[in-house]
Amino acid sequence: MAASAADVRSILSIPSQSGTPQATQKKPQAQSARKPEGISRELFSLIGSSAPTLAAQLLKPRLKQKPNLGNRSCVKWEWRSFKNDARSDGLQLGHWTKASTDPTTPYPFSKYNIQPTVYKYTDEEYTQYLQDQAWTKEETDYLFRTIHEYDTRWYVVFDRYEYPGGVSRSLEDMKDRYFSVCRKLVRNRPWTGDEASKSQLIQSFQFDKEREVTRKKYVTSLENRTPEQIAEEEALFIELKRLEQNERRFKRDRDELLRTLAGIDSGLPDVVEDEASLTAPLPGDFLKRKKTKSGIGAESEPAGPSNTIALGPPIIRKPQNAKSAAYDAQHCITRTEQTGSGSTTKAAHQPAFLRSFKIPFPKAALAPRINQGLTELGINPTRLVMPTRDNCSRLEALIEATTAMVETKKTMDKVEYEIRVAKGRLGIRESEEAGAGGGAAGESISTGIPVDAMDVDEAEGGGDDADEELAEDGRAQSVASVRSARGRRQSRRSMSISSVDTSATLPTRAGTKRQKRG
């Protein structure tokens, strides 16, 4: 601050008032002497000499040296007149050129003036090859002249073309005439070069008038669209894209669903599926499966075809006339109802199979008995001599019936066993009633401690005895009663049985016992 004040004073040429400014004035001088390069004076006075590192950093970067663009003297240009070799009229024009260029060099742009090959024809050639109903020789001559005059610049030719007394010619007419004449001339004149270059040249004279006209019409109509039409077109295009996208998404979802539901059976990658398969009512399939499952659950029912493999989809014959039936029979065709959920539930295709593959297997648990039963009847449950569709379904029905029978047999065995048990108990009870004392003694021995313990707290339970308990009790007693005649092992088993019984039905059993004893 002090320094700036001194500066102000010196700028305004205010003489220093006291001795102190003298001192202050000396200081900046000393400082400025040490001021490093590249740092402004103001900044230096602010930060002082105490920050040399900072000063070094703030040092102004050295710029690249300005390129030396040469100290040569300026190029000298001069106005010269020149002669264009491409001109035939020998017109003299002038232009600026470097003085250093050789004045004798020819005009460099004259080489770009290339004269196209001019096709000319003699009268003889014209009469021989070039006759055309739409063109007179005079007009053709005029056309060729004009073309030559305007250097085959078609639009100019078209603009300037004005044959006196001739019909108006379109650009395509002229092109067609010109190119066809050229083609014919090239083709019919003796050719010195090789065939390839000849055909290449003919190719370059190729002109399809129709196509050209159509093309121009298209371009015109494209250009003449109204903004509304353009907008509509764009909207339609967007709509189309959107539909395509939707279609793709649907297909993907559908495939996903099929894969999930049908798994490997769907055969998606290689099978071409038509629309019908996609509309198949899948939920119906699930419902059906559920039903069959509940069929297995119901045991008392005569077993259905619950786990047997069905012979393909259920076959419903279509009402058909005799003729188509005969046709189907001849070609071995079976028709199934389309509409029902049965035939089309499986969205996936059922692959080709042999009839015998579809012979059903009986339930695994019952299989040995069913197979035995069928073998006794002279039927092989796994192979048929003639596995036709009818025979396969017959076999299926037979296996079904046998399964039902075997299940009934099982129930019967159970009932018979129960009858035996009940009879046994009745018999024992009778014999027990005959000699009650002995029986009771035997029982107490056989049951041992658990019973004794129970006897201690012979509770007030009891009351009505269920048949079941009674029966079990009877068995325990029966075993006990014969214990004396049998070995020790027997008695131990009986004990265990009775003790199990007791633990299960304590009060009841206790009650019974008391009743019997008393």
């Binding site: 070609h331 071995c332 389309q338 080709a352 003639m386 036709t388 037979l398 009934t408 019967m412 009932v415």
Partner: protein
């Protein structure tokens, strides 16, 4: 064209075929000529159309199956040189000599129009004469077997195509199979599932007929009737037993 590759829904079409083998005992002379003299039989395993051709002494083969079968691969026992024999054109059969019976894997590939995967089936090569009771009987000596004539073991089956492609269906309907004869003209082909046919199978080259199908249908129906009858009886019996059980339980309960 697109219409051609649409599946015809709700339609299944099948073609009856037979597969199996015929085996004959080699004469001692023939055996000497063989590179492996331990071979006792010569046999032919084949896949053919079910109906037999008139005037030709073979089982089946009336139709040329190549209109829907592209190739058949027979996988012989590993001891044979190149055990996998692929036959690309009819007749789809392999002839060999050998001494033992074994399982032959037969793989049928369909023409591409079908869009179907190949199916695989198995045939037990049968060399020794059939016996009524099956395996336990001893194999008769060769000279006895020779007198019994060639052994035939053929299985009838139906290749079923579900929802065929339109163009495949057209191919199939252009080749209706020769129907099986309605009456028995030749011996019946023996089948283990019908041992009673042993006698009827003797005396020449057998032929499949619709009579066989009818017979089997009758047998199945008969068996079903028997089973149903037994089942009905059993049910009556069961009811009776259940009543008895109830009575007994009641008795026990009363006491």
């Amino acid at each position: 064209m697109a219409n051609e590759r649409v599946r015809v829904r709700g339609l299944s079409i099948f073609r009856p075929i037979i597969y199996g083998n015929t085996a004959t005992v080699l004469t001692p002379k023939e055996r000497e000529a063989l590179p492996s003299p331990d071979h006792t039989h010569k046999w032919t395993v084949a896949v053919r159309s079910a109906a037999s051709k008139d005037g030709i002494d073979s089982v089946g083969g009336a139709d040329d199956l190549s209109y829907f079968i592209k190739r058949v691969a027979f996988k012989l026992h590993d001891t044979y040189p190149n055990p996998s024999r692929t036959i690309d054109k009819p007749p789809f059969e392999v002839s060999e000599t050998g001494w033992g019976e074994f399982e032959i894997q037969i793989r049928i590939t369909f023409i591409p129009e079908s869009g179907e995967k190949a199916i695989t089936l198995y045939h037990h090569l049968k060399l020794h004469p059939w016996t009524a009771s099956g395996d336990p009987e001893p194999i008769p000596p060769l000279d006895v077997a020779m007198k019994m004539g060639p052994v035939h073991s053929w299985q009838y089956d139906e290749i079923t195509f579900n929802d065929p492609y339109q163009n495949f269906l057209t191919i199939l309907t252009n080749h209706p199979p020769t129907p099986l004869p309605k009456a028995k003209r030749k011996p019946v082909p023996f089948h283990t599932s019908h041992p009673a046919s042993l006698e009827a199978s003797k005396g020449g080259v057998p032929e499949f007929t619709t009579v066989m199908e009818k017979e089997e249908a009758d047998r199945l129906e008969e068996a079903k009737k028997t089973v149903l009858k037994q089942h009905a009886e059993m049910k009556l019996h069961l009811e009776e037993k259940e009543r008895e059980l109830k009575r007994l339980q009641k008795q026990l309960g009363e006491a």
